[in-house]
């Protein structure tokens, strides 16, 4: 799952500072007046200008999957087009690999588009008169790569997106999902560093969309591109993104990891968005796990263990070994048996078939585990070390409480939302 990987902490790959895009006459004039911070509606009424992007700033690290989420009209498509200068921003700075791309001339811009970036479009943007292979090879052709070489590469990428055998068909012969695979293959063929995706899956039906999301996540794990992904679908954002920027009316109102967004929505707007997102899909075992009061250690004797259980009133306790390595679960019943048989290693009092999960396991995936056991579920890290435990009751209460709290807060803040308590968390 995309959101379970920790955000990479590499260099900044794409940076945007104080970016503005204003459509309409006198855009420049508006930009330099104080009125630019008025509401969108007011500006439109008074000046005839549409503020599409307002003081945007964010940074994307190398290898990061960065999602820009917002409803239609929030400016997210304009923003992603500005990154390629398909739309010229009115003001601001944009950096790609540390270079200011706003100062690029035509040639430099063309060079960047040919070598550094690629884009996948919502409506695919395929060339209807070109066969699949010629669509995929287009970026290479434009770059001047020889015919044999570009077809070779195109075939490779086509196979990678699962379209082998469709090379000679025209796009119109393909279903929507397949067409977007062509779009993806075309973008990957040039081996770009940065992949820009403008709602690539929103035109597809839900089943295909999920499938494509999973495949993209897999592909990303393999190729580790820097991805800027635009969507209006919160679930998609939470599923795919390392970090998410939420946009409204041309502004970024919150940037954070999926968990930040769900657990600490910056204002009522985000909370409302998040409200219908099931926490089970976002919360991970690591966030809801608890530290047990008591642990047993390998080197303790059975009698000592029994004493601990008796004094704490517990029915079962996890057993850990050296360096905190999880060995299993000791139950009161088995412990008594062990003592009866005069055994002296707690390892012989373990419950068989222990189910474990990692910090990154999504709560939703804990449900089947929780259903199949009556014991708490231990959380372990990569080295097998014990990190915490999760009780079934914890899972349920974490979800129920959160929803109740959210509902109350939204209700309360919904009443005075227009006062504009928005935007404190501007630049993440």
């Amino acid at each position: 799952m995309g959101n379970t990987a920790a955000p990479p902490s590499g260099q900044i790959c794409v940076g945007v500072k104080e970016l503005w895009k204003i459509f309409g006459p006198n855009a420049e004039q508006l930009l330099h007046s104080e009125r630019r911070f008025d509401s969108k509606e007011k500006i439109l009424e008074e000046t005839g200008c549409v503020v599409a992007l307002r003081d945007i700033a964010f940074e994307v690290r190398r290898g990061e999957f960065f999602v820009i989420m917002g409803l239609s009209g929030s400016g997210k498509s304009t923003l992603i087009r500005c990154l390629l200068r398909l739309i010229e921003p009115t003001a601001g700075q944009m950096f790609v690999n540390g270079e200011d791309i706003c100062s690029y001339d035509e040639l430099q811009l063309m060079d960047m588009r040919r070598h550094t970036t690629s884009m996948v479009f919502q409506h695919f943007g395929l060339f209807p008169h070109r066969s699949v292979i010629n669509n995929v090879a287009y970026g290479l052709k434009v770059r001047g790569v020889g015919e044999q070489q570009r077809y070779e590469r195109a075939r490779e990428v086509i196979a990678k997106v699962g379209l082998k055998g469709w090379e000679e068909y025209l796009p119109s012969a393909l279903s929507g999902g397949m067409q977007q695979r062509v779009g993806l293959a075309r973008a990957l063929a040039t081996e770009p560093e940065i992949l820009l995706m403008d709602e690539p899956f929103s035109g597809l039906d839900p089943l295909i969309r999920r499938q494509m999301q999973d495949e993209l996540a897999e592909l990303q794990a393999e190729v580790q591109k820097t991805i800027v992904f635009v969507t209006h679908d919160l679930h998609e954002a939470l599923k795919m993104g390392n970090r998410i920027a939420i946009m409204r009316d041309g502004e970024i109102i919150q940037v954070g990891t999926p968990e930040d967004i769900i657990t600490v929505p910056s204002d009522a707007y985000v909370r409302e968005f998040v409200q219908d997102a099931s926490p089970a899909k976002v919360l991970t075992a690591g966030t809801i796990m608890e530290q047990p009061n008591v642990l047993l250690y390998e080197w303790q004797g059975p009698k000592a263990a029994l004493h601990i259980l008796a004094t704490t009133g517990l029915q079962n306790v996890f057993l850990v070994g050296h360096r905190g390595k999880l060995l299993g679960l000791v139950t009161l019943e088995r412990l008594r048996e062990l003592i009866k048989k005069k055994g002296n290693s707690l390892r012989d009092a373990l419950e068989p078939d222990l189910l474990t999960c990692t910090r990154d396991t999504i709560v939703e995936d804990l449900f089947p585990l929780a259903a199949s056991t009556s014991y708490p579920i231990p959380v372990v890290d990569e080295k097998g070390e014990f990190a915490g435990e999760i009780h079934i009751s914890t899972i349920l209460s974490s979800m129920i409480q959160r929803q109740e709290v959210d509902a109350h807060q939204v209700q309360r803040e919904g009443e005075n939302r227009d006062d504009g308590g928005v935007g404190e968390e501007h630049h993440g």
């Binding site: 063309m110 040919r114 008169h129 287009y138 970026g139 040039t190």
Partner: protein, 286 residues
């Protein structure tokens, strides 16, 4: 108040005469050169059409029609039409007409397609050209004979000149429309991959405008045919001349034969170019 007052009359005709004679004395050599070049091309085309054995013309037309329309009997009908023209004894005149049409269409395309491209790429050019093209198409075709006659005298060259002016608007217009109709999303995708504007034009816009351009070629060809008939009034030999003579001498039968031949020729050219345009449409949209 019955007669229109003398003092309100404008001697526009005199002015035009003055302008034209100025143009001719100043640029006369230029027009002669252009006229000579057109005549040279035209004569060779005409010689070629007259040299072609009629059997070859008939067979080639039949095969092309069959291939374009994908109907064997359509090819046979075209063959029958051509044989009919020959049987009226009007073969050579028909070939002369065809030669002028051919030359006019080639010149129209050479001028029209690039003009259409420029028009599609510049809103200013479009705004300038549109009223001119509208004017050219609303003006009665006779009117074009006058400047052609003045600039090039009598004969085939002014006929071609007048025909080109009359026939060129559709191909300009439809090239323009075809390129402008290419979906923005597709052009944007080409841009996003770093295409130069030349690459966008030749790799994306023109290929996608081909069906529209083909319709333009079809219309231009049909208008050229119509104009060639009229251009016989300024001395273009061909079927039109035959009709003109028949009118002057009130020889109804002769006029009917020539008129029928023009209709047959029109059907043949229209059906074939139309089918070609339709097939282009097919390959691009499906």
């Amino acid at each position: 108040m019955v007669e229109f007052p003398q003092f309100l009359q404008v001697p526009l005709g005199d002015w035009v005469d003055a302008i034209m004679s100025w143009v001719l004395t100043t640029w006369g050599a230029g027009f002669d050169a252009v006229g000579g070049a057109i005549l040279f091309v035209l004569l060779n085309i005409e010689r070629f059409f007259l040299w072609l054995p009629w059997t070859v013309v008939v067979v080639v037309t039949g095969v092309v029609a069959w291939q374009a329309m994908r109907l064997w009997w359509a090819g046979l009908i075209m063959v029958a039409f051509l044989v009919l023209i020959g049987s009226f004894g009007l073969w050579n005149l028909a070939m002369m007409t065809l030669a002028i049409i051919f030359a006019s269409v080639v010149i129209s395309l050479v001028v029209g397609i690039p003009t259409g491209i420029v028009m599609a790429r510049s809103n200013i050019v479009e705004r300038l050209l549109k009223p001119i093209l509208d004017g050219m198409q609303t003006m009665p075709s006779f009117v074009y004979l006058i400047p052609a006659l003045m600039l090039f005298g009598l004969g085939k060259v002014p006929a071609v000149f007048a025909t080109v002016i009359y026939a060129v608007p559709p191909v300009i217009r439809l090239t323009n429309v075809g390129i402008r109709q290419v979906p923005h999303s597709v052009v944007e995708a080409a841009q996003a991959f770093g295409s130069s504007s030349r690459q966008i034009l030749f790799e994306v816009q023109i290929p996608l405008a081909i069906p529209s351009i083909m319709v333009g070629i079809n219309q231009t060809t049909m208008m050229a045919l119509a104009m060639v008939v009229i251009a016989s009034m300024i001395g273009a030999m061909g079927l039109g001349m035959e009709v003109l003579i028949a009118i002057n001498r009130i020889e109804i039968g002769r006029g009917f034969e020539a008129g029928l031949c023009i209709v047959l020729l029109a059907i043949i050219i229209d059906r074939i170019t139309h089918a070609m345009a339709a097939r282009q449409q097919h390959t691009v949209t499906t």
